[in-house]
Symmetry: C2
Subunit: 127 residues, 2 copies
């Protein structure tokens, strides 16, 4: 129902994906190895061929990385996605927990920023 039957799906090599995502080829292979990618397609000779969906997934993973989420938790999330619809609740919980942590981190950073501002003012003050 949601599977595209497009005949001309664009497929990217690992170097193209590395260039687009900013991740290294090493990291992309490693992501696959640890189960952070939803099975990547291969060419007849065994080379990786990434799809636009893979790129979307990597974009989302990049956001999760940016939140400071651990790789272990991202792998957990990827597993839940693979397991299907019945894991939606647990996925949401994982994301909600991450959201709480991000909010706490922003608060912490904002607080530290105030100290930094204060200290920098002191240096600017005398001389």
């Amino acid at each position: 129902m949601s599977q595209s039957l497009s005949l001309t799906q664009t497929r990217y090599t690992i170097s193209e994906v590395a260039a687009r995502t900013g991740l290294s080829q090493h990291t992309l292979r490693w992501y696959e190895r640890i189960g952070l990618m939803p099975h990547v397609d291969r060419s007849h000779s065994g080379q990786r061929r990434f799809t636009d969906q893979d790129l979307d997934w990597l974009g989302f993973v990049g956001k999760l990385r940016a939140t400071g989420m651990s790789v272990a938790d991202m792998v957990r999330y990827a597993e839940l996605v693979r397991e299907g619809e019945h894991t939606r609740g647990e996925r949401r919980e994982l994301l909600e927990r991450t959201r709480r942590e991000v909010r706490a981190r922003i608060t912490e950073l904002t607080d530290a920023l105030a100290v930094l501002d204060y200290k920098i003012d002191m240096y600017a003050g005398t001389r």
Copy 2:
């Protein structure tokens, strides 16, 4: 001129400082070893005796840690403090660079938070 000549200066053992700061004794010794502490005083038998100034310094170091500053940069800052007044400019630069990084990090986190919100809404939406 600013040296206190108080006769009853409170001195804390490493376990007291660990309890107060939340840092482990291991970490406190390690901080000293790598040059992140301004020489800590010792008892006649060689045990560390921390002062209130040490506690203040550790509090500030904690704030720097909270900014995500690397230990190497914190050590650099500590060195500059030890070197005296003529390093004020460089210290301010270090703090200003850190401030820029903190601001960028907050922006990044805020951005990732929006994605998280969006995704969580999706999970809440269906079912």
